[in-house]
């Protein structure tokens, strides 16, 4: 029995850790959707761009400076997107905005690689790579825990805590929540919509940078990072488009679910099922609860 539990826990843990990383990307989606109603497909491209910026700057600058500079660049990017894309498209339907962000995705992908190159870059944060072995006495062989994953989990936790404080305790946060509730009402009590959007996109840019750091230390910084956006989509559908806790819980469920499915069900189907498994889970979920786990009920009027 113990022989069975060890591997199971390990797969579960590995899945949860992957889920934390999905959640980090999903967080960026949720932030922007909450505040501006835009489903930002470009979040994945922003992750790639942020990570590329950081890793290339780290070649010439110490980490702290490079991080600060990358943050500044992400804010500048947010500024550009708000000015050049969102403002002219204000009041358009969600679908049009969504397609516009697909355009942004392609632009950032091309631009980032032209600017920073398309090689594979190593992001070295000085973390030990060999795994720790825990629970060895009760379980034969123990459970492997990767320090990189733990770092990612801790960072994600810190980020969520920070965002929670930001949203609930600061004036800007209150304004953000007001905008999320009702654009027009918020505007009519004097909350500047454009500034709020700028702030949200900047925060999403910084979240992308953190997500890029976490993914980058694991996989190396390379074009494929942009594809994590596709992993985050089932997460937010499961968690609900407007819920930050939803993004985290959804990430964990999807991460753990797909790894367990791959290891325990996958071999029966010839493997490789994790790519669509998350989507199918999200889809089934959609049919029964369209607003997601924590999302707000969607009410439509003619």
């Amino acid at each position: 029995m113990l022989e069975e539990i060890g591997p199971f826990l390990e797969v579960l843990l590995g899945g949860l850790m992957a889920g934390v990383l999905y959640a980090l990307v999903a967080l960026g989606f949720v932030l922007i959707f909450k505040a501006s109603g835009v489903f930002n497909f470009a979040q994945g491209a922003m992750v790639l761009f942020a990570a590329l910026t950081l890793v290339r700057l780290m070649e010439v600058l110490p980490f702290v400076l490079a991080f600060a500079a990358s943050c500044a660049i992400m804010v500048a990017l947010a500024f550009a997107i708000e000015r050049l894309v969102l403002r002219p498209l204000v009041n358009q339907e969600g679908l049009i905005l969504f397609m516009a962000t697909i355009g942004i995705t392609f632009f950032i992908d091309g631009f980032g690689q032209t600017l920073w190159g398309s090689d594979i870059y190593t992001l070295e944060l000085g973390l030990p790579k060999s795994p720790w072995i825990i629970l060895d006495p009760p379980l034969p062989g123990g459970i492997l825990v990767s320090p990189v994953d733990v770092f990612a989990a801790v960072t994600a936790g810190a980020l969520v805590a920070g965002l929670a404080v930001f949203f609930n305790r600061t004036k800007v946060g209150r304004a953000l929540r007001a905008v999320a509730d009702d654009h027009q009402a918020a505007q009519s009590v004097g909350i500047p919509l454009n500034t709020i959007w700028l702030i949200v996109w900047s925060v999403a840019g910084v979240v992308a940078l953190v997500a890029g750091m976490a993914w980058g230390t694991k996989l190396g910084v390379q074009f494929s990072l942009a594809l994590v956006a596709l992993k985050a989509i089932p997460v937010i559908i499961l968690g609900g488009l407007t819920s930050i806790p939803g993004a985290i819980v959804g990430g964990l469920i999807i991460g753990a679910g797909e790894k367990l499915a791959e290891v325990y069900i996958g071999p029966a189907f010839g493997g490789g099922i994790e790519n669509w498994f998350a989507y199918v889970v999200a889809l089934l979920f959609l049919l029964f609860r369209p607003q997601g786990l924590f999302g707000e009920r969607i009410i439509e009027r003619v």
Partner: protein, 354 residues
Amino acid sequence: MLYREAGQFKTSYEADQSIFPIMQDRWGIAAILAFAFLAMPFLASEYFFRAVMIPFLILALAAIGLNLLVGYCGQISLGTGAFMAVGAYAAYNFAIRVPELPHLVTLLLAGGVAAVVGLLFGIPSLRIKGLYLAAATLAAQFFIDWLFSRVKWFTNYTPSGSVAAPQLNIFGWVPDAPSEKYLLCLGFVTVFALVAKNLVRSRIGRSWMAIRDMDIAAEIIGIRPMHAKLSAFAISSFIVGVAGALWGFVHLGSWEPLAFSIDRSFSLLFMVILGGLGSILGCFLGAAFITLVPIFLNQVLPELGIKLDTATVSHLEFMIFGALIVVFLIAEPHGMARLWQVGKEKLRIWPFPH
């Protein structure tokens, strides 16, 4: 001056309801078709057929299919590539397992299979829409990709999972030369474009547009959303499936699931957006644009004396597509087709604009 409908009176209901009510349009279309069918096969080089015309025509066909769904019925799809794959693999399996079937039937049956699969993945659209539906179609994309690379029956147990299409034979005609392949594609595209053009004016097309503009309102005035949405998914997938079969049989010849990956889905969506949502003409313009830009960057820039390295060109392509999508959505959400229409309006009053 050149393009003026003054004096063209519609004296019967048929005339009022014809596809191209203006004489100049009728002549224009006839001239283009005559040129495409009669002159082009003798004029263009092999390269022009294989690298430009054939992909352009097939992609335009797929774009027509997608546009019926996205542009007319308002149901977004990010899984077009997968439905093309269904068409291609269905055609392959019919062709090698039932070799007695005439290949024309095989290609249409492939469309039929794609229609059924499209119908299945369209079912969620009854309950969800917009972004959620986009996610559902992504599920179709990933699942179908996986299916064709994993279930060996679909690839006739080839060890590498790559399949090679048999030579097409349309009732004794073997389209082998590039100009013949071109004519085959042109035939398909012409027929389906006319069918689509008629379809969107018909009862079913109008019900699609009603659903697109406001589904709840459409339901209240008596349009059955299930009927409208599922028929849009089925018909759209049918055309996309036929395009997929042509893409495999005529353009690639041999393929693997990766040839119908999500990149294909995105590029088709781009064609539809850039060309014009809800316009058949737009599908052609969009397909032409997406096919020609890379060729333009690769071939014409060096001849103008601008030498870029390969990586830059390909990144530039990404940036141009991305930027243009945004520019079009902001400046002209109805795409190039709308620009063309504006041009026509101008021509009408040229050279004396008031």
